[in-house]
C-alpha cells in the first residue's frame, strides 16, 4: 500500500506540475492579449488605471458612460471598468483588483440599479476571468457565485478545459507565434467604454404586462446593501469618495418594476449611512426616448453620450463643492 500511495503521489505531483506549467503558459499568453476580453484587465494588472475618475458597475456602466465625454467636460482623466453581465458580487473582482494598484483613482462612480442586485448562480462569460484566477481578489468573489470554481483554480490546467481557442491563443501568444485570422481580436473600446450602435426598433410594450416584483427579493436587496457597504468602506479607507448613480432604463421597464421604490430607498440609505452620495437619474427624461435605446436595459451610443453629458454636469458641481 505504501509503495502504491507513494507512486500515486509522485505521479499526481508530476501531473500537477506539468498541468501548472501548461496552464501558466496560457495564463501569461492571454495576459498579453490586448483585446476586448482582456484589455481592461491588462490595464488594471499593469498599474495603468491611474485615472482621476473610474466608472464601475455592470453592462449599464460599460455601454452608457463614455469616458471621452467625461474627460472633455471635466478635464479629468477617466476609465470605464463596467463589467458586462456582472451583478454586484461579480463586480467585486474589479474594485478589489483596482485597490491593489499603487495609483488610486480620486473618484469612483458606481453605477447601480435594480438588476445589479439579482444574484446569478453561474459565472457569465467565465473565460474573461480565467487568466486571473490565481489572484485572490478575482477568485474570492467569484467562488461565492460558483462553488466549483476551486477546480479551476487548484487543478491545473482544468480551467482551460473545453476552451480550445483560449488554449491555442494563449500558447501562440506566449511563444510569439502568429495568430490565425479567426483568433485575432483587437481592442475596440475606448478606455473600457463600448458604444452600442443600434436603435431599438419597437416600443417595448410587452414590458407593460411584466411585473418584476419578485425579480429581486428582500434577501437579494439585503445582500446588495452589504456588498455596497463593503465597497464604499474599502474606498473610504483610501480616502476615495464613491458616488452611486442610478442611470435611466427605458421608462416602460422602470414602470414594470413593482418594488423599485424599495431598491432606490436602499441605495439612498447606503449613501446616507456611509457618508457617500446617491444620484438617482433613473427618471431622467431621456428614458422616454425610444431612439436612445439599444434595448430596454441599455442605451445606445447616442443615449450614452447624452446621459454622460448630464452626468458630467453633476460631477462638475460635485467637484466644485
Amino acid at each position: 500500500m505504501k509503495l502504491f500511495l507513494i507512486k500515486i503521489f509522485v505521479f499526481s505531483s508530476t501531473l500537477w506540475m506539468c498541468g501548472f506549467a501548461y496552464q501558466s503558459i496560457i495564463d501569461r499568453g492571454l495576459q498579453q492579449n490586448y483585446n476586448d476580453t482582456y484589455g481592461d484587465w491588462i490595464e488594471v494588472y499593469n498599474q495603468r488605471i491611474n485615472h482621476d475618475i473610474v466608472i464601475l458597475g455592470s453592462s449599464r456602466a460599460w455601454v452608457q458612460v463614455n469616458p471621452k465625454i467625461i474627460e472633455k467636460q471635466t478635464n479629468k482623466s477617466c476609465y470605464n471598468l463596467g463589467l458586462d453581465g456582472a451583478r454586484l458580487q461579480m463586480q467585486k473582482t474589479v474594485w478589489r483588483s483596482l485597490l491593489k494598484q499603487k495609483n488610486k483613482p480620486k473618484l469612483i462612480i458606481q453605477v447601480v440599479d435594480y438588476f445589479a442586485l439579482n444574484t446569478r448562480s453561474n459565472l457569465y462569460w467565465k473565460e474573461r476571468f480565467l487568466p486571473y484566477l490565481n489572484y485572490q481578489e478575482v477568485y474570492g468573489p467569484l467562488s461565492v457565485i460558483d462553488s466549483s470554481l476551486w477546480i479551476d483554480r487548484y487543478l491545473p490546467p482544468l480551467r482551460y478545459h473545453g476552451y480550445d481557442d483560449l488554449n491555442s491563443i494563449g500558447w501562440k501568444t506566449f511563444f510569439g507565434i502568429k495568430l490565425d485570422s479567426n483568433e485575432k481580436a483587437k481592442y475596440t473600446k475606448y478606455k473600457g467604454f463600448k458604444a452600442v450602435n443600434k436603435i431599438m426598433e419597437e416600443e417595448p410594450v410587452f414590458l407593460d404586462s411584466l411585473q418584476f416584483e419578485t425579480h429581486v427579493n428582500a434577501e437579494q436587496i439585503a445582500f446588495g446593501k452589504n456588498v455596497l457597504h463593503e465597497m464604499i468602506a474599502a474606498f473610504k479607507k483610501e480616502n476615495i469618495p464613491v458616488i452611486l448613480v442610478y442611470l435611466p432604463n427605458h421608462h416602460r421597464l422602470r414602470k414594470s418594476i413593482k418594488n423599485r421604490k424599495l431598491v432606490v430607498q436602499m441605495f439612498q440609505d447606503v449613501a446616507d449611512s456611509t457618508g457617500s452620495y446617491f444620484w438617482d437619474m433613473s427618471k431622467d427624461s431621456l428614458s422616454n426616448c425610444l431612439d436612445l435605446y439599444a434595448d430596454p436595459l441599455h442605451m445606445n451610443s447616442a443615449g450614452a453620450d447624452l446621459i454622460t453629458l448630464k452626468l458630467c454636469d453633476r460631477i462638475n458641481n460635485f467637484v466644485k463643492n
Partner: protein
C-alpha cells in the same frame, strides 16, 4: 454518477481510503463500506430506485435460501420459477411495457380497429437489465446445485449492488464474485497498479474515442440523406468505434475500479475487432452477456445437441432475445436476427470453434489470410451496427441503400477531422500489441522504461484533456 464525471473522481479516492484505512481488514466493515458506497453511487442516478434494487435483492436472497433448503424438486422448481417471474416481470414492466402496448396498438390499427390502453410514463431504472440478470443467474445456479445459497444478507446485497459493475456490467456470476465478498480482501500492489492502468485506458476509450466518434456518428445517422456514400461509410465506422470505446471503456473502468478494492471482475471484451469470424466476435464482445445467454438459455434449449434444424432454432432464439435485451425497439430485434443469420452457416459447417486463440498468438505480423478474415468480419459487424444505431428499420435500410448507391463516387461532405482517425489507430495499435493481455494498456515491466511508461500515461491524460468529445451518456446505461 458516471465514471467520467468529476463526482466520481472525488467519490473513488474517498471510498478507497475508507475501505483500506477504516475497515481494519475486517471483511464485514469492508462489505458495509462497499454496500453504502454502492447505494450512494446508485442514488446519484435516481434515489427512488434504491428500493427496487434492495427489494429485488432481498426477494432473491430469501428465495435462494428456500431453494437450497427444500428437497423436493417440484418445490425447488416452483421457487426458481418465482424468482425468474419476478425478475423478468420487473424487467418487462420497466423496459418493455410501453413497447408492447404501442406495438399491439399499431397491429390493431393495421387491421382497421383501434385498441384501448395507454402507455405509462415509466422511467427505466439504470442498470436494471444488468442486475436482474445477475440475481437470476444466482438463483438458477442454486437450483442447479452449482453453488450454495449465501446466508449472510450483507454479502449478498454487496454482490448485487457492487458499484463498479452495477449499472452497466460486466454481468457477474455468483460463482466468481460472491466468494470474494465472503473473505477479507488484502491490498495487492500489482493488482491496484493494473487497476489504475485499466481505468486510464477505459477513460481514454470513452472520452477520446467514443465521445468524439459519437459526434460524427450522430450527425450522419440523423441526417443520412445529406451525406455522400463515403460519409455514411465513415459514419458507420465511427459508430462501431463509438460503441466499442463506450462499452469496453466502461468495462475497463469497472474492472480497474474493482481491482482497487481487491475484487476481480470477469473480462467483458477481448479485442473483438480482431476477430476472424462472427463466432469469434461473439466470444470476444460483451463476454459476460454472451456467456450468460449460453449458460442460461442456449444450453437449456438444447444447445448444439439435437438436429441441425433444432440448433438453428436455438441460435435464432438466443440472438433474438439477446437483441431484445438491448432495448425495446424493432431495430434491436432485427440486429439480433442479422447476427443469427451470420452465425448459423458457421455453426452448420461446424466452423464456430475454428478461432479460439487470439489472432497471431505467436508473433506480431499476421498472415494475409487472417488480415482478410478480420476485415471481412468487421465489414459484417459494421452492417449490424447500422441496424443497431438507426432509429427504425426503415432508416437502417435507407442508410445502407444510400451508403452503397454512390459508393464509386469518392468524396466527403462531412469534414471530419483526421485527428479522430489517428486516435482510433493509436488505440488499435495498443490493443494489437496487447491482444493476449486483459486490456490494451500494458508496457514491458523493465526498470529503465519507467520514465517512458510515465510519459505515455501523461500523454494519454493530455489527450483526454485536449480531445474531450462532447460528453455522451454511456450507451449501455439505456439498456
Amino acid at each position: 454518477m458516471a465514471f467520467n464525471s468529476f463526482e466520481f473522481a472525488l467519490f473513488l479516492p474517498v471510498v478507497f481510503a475508507m475501505y483500506w484505512f477504516l475497515s481494519f481488514r475486517k471483511k464485514i466493515i469492508q462489505n458495509i463500506i462497499l454496500l453504502l458506497a454502492s447505494y450512494l453511487f446508485y442514488a446519484f442516478w435516481d434515489w427512488r430506485f434504491l428500493g427496487l434494487i434492495f427489494g429485488s435483492s432481498i426477494i432473491d436472497y430469501f428465495l435462494a435460501l428456500f431453494i437450497a433448503k427444500k428437497n423436493k424438486k417440484a418445490t425447488k422448481r416452483l421457487l426458481v420459477g418465482t424468482s425468474i417471474a419476478i425478475n423478468l416481470g420487473l424487467l418487462g414492466f420497466f423496459k418493455y411495457f410501453n413497447f408492447f402496448v404501442e406495438s399491439f396498438q399499431e397491429v390493431f390499427t393495421l387491421f382497421g380497429s383501434s385498441l384501448g390502453g395507454s402507455t405509462l410514463n415509466i422511467i427505466l431504472p439504470v442498470g436494471i437489465s444488468f442486475y436482474t440478470f445477475q440475481t437470476l443467474s444466482y438463483t438458477i445456479d442454486i437450483y442447479r446445485g452449482k453453488i450454495k445459497a449465501e446466508k449472510n444478507p450483507l454479502n449478498f446485497l454487496v454482490f448485487v449492488s457492487f458499484f463498479p459493475q452495477l449499472v452497466a456490467g460486466p454481468i457477474e456470476r455468483a460463482t466468481n464474485l460472491l466468494p470474494q465478498f465472503q473473505k477479507e480482501r488484502t491490498f495487492q500492489y500489482n493488482h491496484a497498479r493494473s487497476g489504475m492502468q485499466q481505468i486510464l485506458w477505459g477513460l481514454f476509450k470513452k472520452i477520446v474515442i467514443a465521445d468524439n466518434c459519437a459526434h460524427w456518428a450522430n450527425e450522419m445517422f440523423s441526417n443520412y440523406g445529406s451525406f455522400t456514400s463515403w460519409d455514411l461509410v465513415m459514419g458507420s465506422i465511427f459508430f462501431s468505434f463509438q460503441i466499442y470505446g463506450d462499452f469496453s471503456g466502461y468495462s475497463d473502468i469497472a474492472i480497474g475500479t474493482s481491482k482497487l478494492f481487491g475484487i476481480n471482475l470477469k473480462k467483458n471484451f477481448s479485442f473483438p475487432y480482431f476477430s476472424r469470424d462472427i463466432a469469434e466476435f461473439w466470444r470476444r464482445w460483451h463476454i459476460s452477456l454472451t456467456t450468460w445467454f449460453r449458460d442460461y438459455l442456449y444450453i437449456p434449449l438444447g444447445g448444439n445437441r439435437g438436429s441441425k434444424w433444432r440448433q438453428v432454432i436455438n441460435v435464432s432464439i438466443v440472438f433474438l432475445i439477446s437483441g431484445f435485451w438491448h432495448g425495446a425497439n424493432w431495430t434491436f430485434l432485427a440486429w439480433g436476427l442479422f447476427n443469427a443469420i451470420l452465425f448459423i452457416p458457421i455453426l452448420l459447417f461446424k466452423l464456430n470453434r475454428t478461432h479460439l486463440e487470439p489472432i497471431t498468438h505467436q508473433g506480431i505480423i499476421s498472415s494475409l489470410r487472417d488480415v482478410a478474415l478480420v476485415i471481412f468480419t468487421y465489414f459484417l459487424v459494421l452492417h449490424g451496427w447500422i441496424l443497431f444505431r438507426s432509429d427504425t428499420i426503415f432508416d437502417a435500410i435507407k442508410y445502407t441503400e444510400r451508403m452503397y448507391n454512390r459508393i464509386f463516387e469518392w468524396g466527403f461532405y462531412s469534414g471530419f477531422g483526421i485527428d479522430i482517425l489517428i486516435f482510433i489507430l493509436i488505440m488499435l495499435c495498443f490493443e494489437w500489441f496487447n491482444r493476449k493481455k486483459d486490456f490494451g494498456l500494458h508496457f514491458p515491466r523493465i526498470n529503465w522504461l519507467l520514465p517512458f511508461r510515465w510519459l505515455a500515461y501523461l500523454g494519454i491524460i493530455a489527450s483526454i484533456y485536449s480531445y474531450t468529445g462532447e460528453p455522451q451518456v454511456f450507451l449501455y446505461f439505456q439498456f
